[in-house]
Symmetry: C2
Subunit: 112 residues, 2 copies
DNA sequence: TTGACAGGCATAGCGTAACTAGGTATAGAT
DNA sequence: ATCTATACCTAGTTACGCTATGCCTGTCAA
């Protein structure tokens, strides 16, 4: 892993994947690239993390997978968010925000 | 665990402990209470997480432990931040902020 | 006075989740 | 022809917080 890129915090990977899928279907490799790019190259998802996470997403019914051909002419699997996936994403983001706020209130309390 | 309290995200526990120790020495039980209170009861640290984390903190030299007596007259171990602990805390907070920013830029990109 | 309860410390084992390391395969470029 | 980037997948490891459990001691009510 490049030394100035970090892995995502445990518990956030699936949320991030579902979030980038909100723009429209993507294949796995493109999902990792999108997260890398959107995060200004701070976040890096390893393939050994990505594909198991996608399997779980399919299994949970948060996205549907469909084999197709990429813009670079390769056989790829496109993932499309389901309504259940959208709903799950919303609750995940809400929980994440709640916890993040709580951590901020410890790192930077109103009155130190 | 109370259902409206959550565990801390993996990777943040030691940072939070060191942070509350910046105000001055505390014993273990009080550390957990402080984090709970400062987070408006959102974050809950279980004892099975707390004490192993404190062991690691001692081992790494981020704090020193000293046995004493609590305000409630019980034998307790007070933890005091070391210079190394302060330094480690600073880098942990910096990394955390960097990643948190990156995640925000995916959850809420400037242009959607 | 004794028993429950809260405060307080500690560890073994578990579960979750991301990572390392390895494998397979193909399109396009040199 | 072979190298590189693209693309998918899995087994095993590791990190880390949690559950469950055990132990001890003040305080307070019955």
């Amino acid at each position: 892993m490049p030394e100035d890129s970090l892995g995502v915090p445990p518990g956030t990977l699936i949320m991030l994947i579902l979030r980038v899928l909100q723009h429209g279907p993507l294949h796995g490799y493109a999902i990792a690239q999108r997260i890398h790019a959107l995060s200004a190259a701070v976040l890096q998802i390893e393939e050994g993390s990505l594909y198991p996470a996608l399997q779980k997403i399919l299994l949970k019914g948060w996205a549907e997978g469909e084999w197709g051909v990429s813009e670079t002419n390769r056989k790829v699997r496109f993932y499309q968010l389901t309504p259940a996936g959208r709903k799950h994403l919303a609750t995940e983001v809400a929980d994440y925000d709640r916890v993040t706020q709580a951590i901020q209130s410890i790192l930077r309390p109103a009155r130190s």
